[in-house]
Amino acid sequence: MNSLLRWLLATVSQLHEETAGVKTISFDVPGWRGHVAGQHVDIRLTAEDGYVAQRSYSLASPAGPDPRIQLTVERVDDGEVSPFLLDELRVGDSIELRGPIGGYFTWSPGTAGPLMLIAGGSGIAPLMSMLRTRALASSRAPARLLYSSRSERHIIYRGELDRLHGARDGFILTHTLTREVPDGWTGERGRIGRTPLTQRGFAPRERPHVFVCGPTPFVDAIADHLVAIGHEESSIRTERFGPTGESK
């Protein structure tokens, strides 16, 4: 039997509010067999009447065997699972989870070639796992992140990303704000189009491994731009997480 199948009991050890409507939930998961950066888990909630809701969430914690894992969850209005995770779950509660899942949207520090990451909103979660993994491995692989947020207060992991950027180890961070841009803002403005992808990303000839994660319309648009500026389709890995308010 496939070991992916096994539902594990995960106990909440910590809850941290990242931004309004976004929390990082830390779980202790006995039986966890370790993960690589970019993988996800399935969460299953069963109602008293037997109704089951199941969703996938990316792992945000770095790769490794540690059975203490982190998910960063954004509220989906009218969603069936995220409101429960954000509003009802308390430290000490347990839920059912299976994983780690998927070898497709993954990166390891041994991978040759630059790492090009493009995130929209809470799509930063699996990419943060990659950056944390890279930092823990003291990797100097060239890495760039273009991160689109609605406004400054919507930026998730802001302090940690600034510290990673400040380490000057080959990682360069570019923020873009799509709605409210404060005076003196030095990052990009507006949605990520071909110009920032060209100027702030790696060129196709540098053969980067490209990972794009965000709301479905965001990922669709970025993937089209990347192909249009010459990136090979096979070098682009995408992870869509459905609708949010981000696309408005």
């Binding site: 199941q54 998927g102 459905g242």
Partner: protein, 90 residues
């Protein structure tokens, strides 16, 4: 509800499909039974979230895979898939 009509990637279906396969399905190549387009299962378009899911070809939108789960059983319909190919590594 809107969660069901905005597609995700086949990658997100890997946990439940894992009930039927012993290898990592995200890396398997799926050949569409309609247009013969070949690509990783992870790149199919995933519709549905809970008891019933559908995976469609990203090229022609034809249904390649259906899966239905109840409390008692899981049912996989591959009639829209011509071939599943795995590499030795996956």
């Amino acid at each position: 509800m809107i969660e069901d009509i905005v597609p995700l990637d086949g990658n997100a279906a890997a946990g439940r499909l894992g009930q039927f396969f012993t290898f990592d399905v995200t890396l398997a190549t799926i050949t569409c039974g309609h247009c013969a387009f070949e690509g990783p299962l992870a790149e199919l378009r995933l519709y549905g979230r809970d008891a019933a899911i559908v995976l469609r070809c990203r090229h022609c939108d034809a249904v390649n895979i259906r899966m239905l789960e109840t409390g008692r059983s899981a049912n996989l319909d591959l009639s829209g898939t011509a071939r599943i190919t795995t590499s030795a590594a996956s």
